[in-house]
């Protein structure tokens, strides 16, 4: 292929210099003598015929010998095959010599004709081969152009497909984010419901206390101090006031807790357009743990061992998502009852955040593929397979990495490692 292309590239645009004549055409005397030295032939004929001679073509034109026509020459015809090609004339030679010389010329012509036919047939076939080569070349150029067009089209289609896949991936990423936000919302609802519940209950107790105090009001209006005091005691107002104070204090705490949750929640609310902030990651961990605790109080014992961390510049919303995702995974790994340990520490120039569970663990064959997009061991529809992919991407965007250790049946430890500086 390459060789023939090279060859045709070399020949391309050049024409063979010899235009072929039909190899089977009839040749005249002049053509047949073209390869012979006429000077030497003339000398030989002169010697053979013992003097001047004239060699004439079929049309009577002189080809060799004396220019002057003879008055009464002897003539011998020169034939080639069926054709009369010319005449040999001599004034001096006898019949026998003349016809012998003519026969010698005929022999020569026959050899010459063989050469001509073979040579011209050869040229004709070479031409033919060349033309065939050019045709092949043209066909090859055409097919090359076709392949080129095809490959361009394929490339365009691949680009298009990549675009579609990328956009689908973005949508899935988004879906993953929304999914974790949905889970977050459930946790938040639970967290807020709790204080709201006891605040509500405290307020209704407070209503009862106020109406009791209101009942004393009418007794006090009578001005009968003794009666008032006995009613005061009877209503247990001393306890009431004490409890009222405690109850209001408790409610203020509850309201504070709600305020705190709402303020923490801001970290999640603007996941997409978050700006970098300097934060203590322990706060984020506590928040994420609270979110989880709200949903899994019944089955999971959550233990936190948070060491002092330097404040770092990061996207807190994104990291919250990472922590919550890892915690939710840990919770899901626990089938019945279990324990999740969350710890943080500084190790050299890095911050290590470890989330361990004593759940089902991950089979070794799956460990390598854990962070691959769309890899999931959960049932179809219950996970996008992007959770850990998103986590890894976020951590990598912060210049960090995630390490995982797991033993089937014993539990799993994810370590998020971020640069401390």
């Amino acid at each position: 292929m390459l060789a023939s292309r090279l060859l045709s590239a070399l020949y391309w645009g050049t024409e063979l210099e010899i235009t072929p004549l039909p190899f089977d055409r009839d040749l005249n005397l002049q053509e047949l003598l073209a390869g012979v030295s006429l000077e030497r032939l003339g000398g030989i004929l002169k010697a053979l015929l013992g003097g001047d001679f004239r060699l004439l073509g079929a049309d009577g034109r002189r080809l060799l010998g004396s220019e002057e026509p003879y008055a009464q020459p002897r003539r011998a015809e020169i034939h080639y095959d069926l054709d009369l090609l010319g005449q040999l004339e001599s004034a001096s030679a006898d019949e026998a010599r003349l016809s012998a010389a003519a026969a010698m010329i005929e022999l020569m012509l026959r050899l010459s004709a063989r050469y001509h036919m073979a040579a011209e047939l050869h040229i004709e076939t070479v031409h033919e081969d060349f033309a065939a080569l050019q045709q092949k070349h043209a066909a090859m150029m055409e097919s090359e152009a076709r392949y080129k067009a095809l490959s361009e089209e394929l490339e365009a289609r691949v680009r298009e497909q990549v675009k579609i896949i990328e956009s689908a991936q973005r949508q899935l990423y988004q879906a993953e984010k929304l999914a974790s936000i949905g889970q977050l919302a459930a946790g938040v609802a639970h967290e807020i419901n709790n204080p709201i519940g006891f605040i509500r209950s405290n307020l209704s107790t407070a209503q009862q206390y106020v109406s009791k105090l209101g009942a004393l009001e009418s007794v006090m209006q009578t001005g009968n101090m003794a009666q008032f005091q006995s009613a005061w005691k009877e209503a247990g107002i001393a306890f009431l006031l004490e409890d009222f104070t405690a109850l209001l204090g408790e409610s203020v705490d509850g309201a504070d807790r709600v305020t705190k949750i709402v303020s923490d929640l801001k970290g999640f609310s603007n996941v997409d357009q978050a700006e970098e902030e300097i934060v203590d990651l322990n706060d984020n961990l506590r928040f994420a743990c609270n979110m989880l605790a709200g949903q899994t109080r019944d089955k999971v014992e959550l233990v936190m061992e948070l060491g002092d961390l330097p404040k770092i510049l990061c996207f807190p919303g994104h990291l919250n998502q990472v922590f919550l995702n890892l915690l939710l995974n840990a919770a899901q790994a626990i089938v019945d009852q279990g324990r999740i340990e969350v710890s943080s520490e500084v190790a050299g120039s890095e911050v290590h955040i470890r989330i361990s569970d004593n759940g089902c663990g991950i089979p070794e064959m799956n460990l390598d593929r854990l962070f691959d997009p769309f890899f999931t061991t959960r049932q179809v529809g219950s996970g996008t397979g992007l959770g850990l992919t998103v986590c890894r991407d976020i951590v990598q965007a912060h210049g960090g990495r995630i390490e995982v250790k797991s033993k089937e049946g014993m539990g799993t430890t994810f370590t998020v490692i971020l640069p401390a500086g």
Binding site: P22, F23, D24, D26, L82, T125, E128
Partner: protein, 217 residues
């Protein structure tokens, strides 16, 4: 395409013996040279052979003079049969006025025959001739071989019954059917030549006279 040379008063006709390798094309020409006695008969020119196999072509010139004094010259060519010489085969075939396809009667050669015939059809088209109108005689040669080795006449006739071309059975080696083959080809060639050159009208050569003159009856 026959040549018409007004200056030299000459009509040149080209007939080509085509066929698979070693089917007897050259032998046909040699026997014709021995058997025919036209007015004019040249020597067979053989252009290079290798182990008795034609590399270029063989040429036998035959001819006669018309009453009008014109020279009618027939050039009988053979092509090299070997597959490798296709370019030469094609060049020899070009400008042909008629073709004899010399097939080998041997049973073992039926594939070679078929391939050579297909090659003839392709090359006829490649050199710009019309295969359906080209004078063609199919000759099954080597009838002198033992019957077991060769297809019977019936088998061959049956196989070729749907085709328009005359079939001739020959044994070129002993000279049988060689003359008849040329006769059948000339029968087909004459009408076209007559149309082109007015052989009958202007040169007073009818079909009968034309064929007789070439074969030398």
């Amino acid at each position: 395409m026959a040549e018409f040379d007004e200056v030299n008063r000459k009509i040149t006709i080209k007939l080509v013996y085509y066929g698979p390798a070693q089917s007897g094309k050259t032998t046909n020409l040699m026997r014709l040279h021995d058997l025919l006695a036209p007015d004019l008969k040249g020597e067979i020119m053989t252009l290079e052979t290798q182990n008795d196999r034609t590399l270029f072509f063989d040429l036998l010139p035959l001819g006669f003079r018309t009453p009008s004094g014109w020279l009618v010259k027939l050039k009988l060519f053979t092509v090299p049969g070997q597959v490798a010489h296709d370019a030469t085969r094609k060049a020899v075939l070009s400008r042909a006025d008629g073709v004899v396809f010399v097939a080998d009667s041997q049973r073992s050669q039926s594939v070679n025959n078929a391939e050579a015939f297909q090659n003839l059809e392709e090359n006829v088209q490649r050199v710009g001739m019309d295969f359906s109108h080209m004078p063609l005689v199919v000759q099954f040669n080597k009838r002198d071989l033992p019957e077991a080795q060769i297809f019977s006449e019936n088998e061959i006739r049956q196989r070729w019954s749907q085709t328009p071309w005359p079939l001739v059975f020959s044994s070129a080696l002993v000279g049988e059917g060689v003359r008849e083959t040329l006769f059948k080809l000339l029968e087909q060639v004459y009408p076209a030549l007559d149309r082109l050159f007015g052989l009958q009208q202007e040169h007073d050569v009818g079909q009968q006279a034309f064929i007789s003159a070439v074969l030398g009856d």
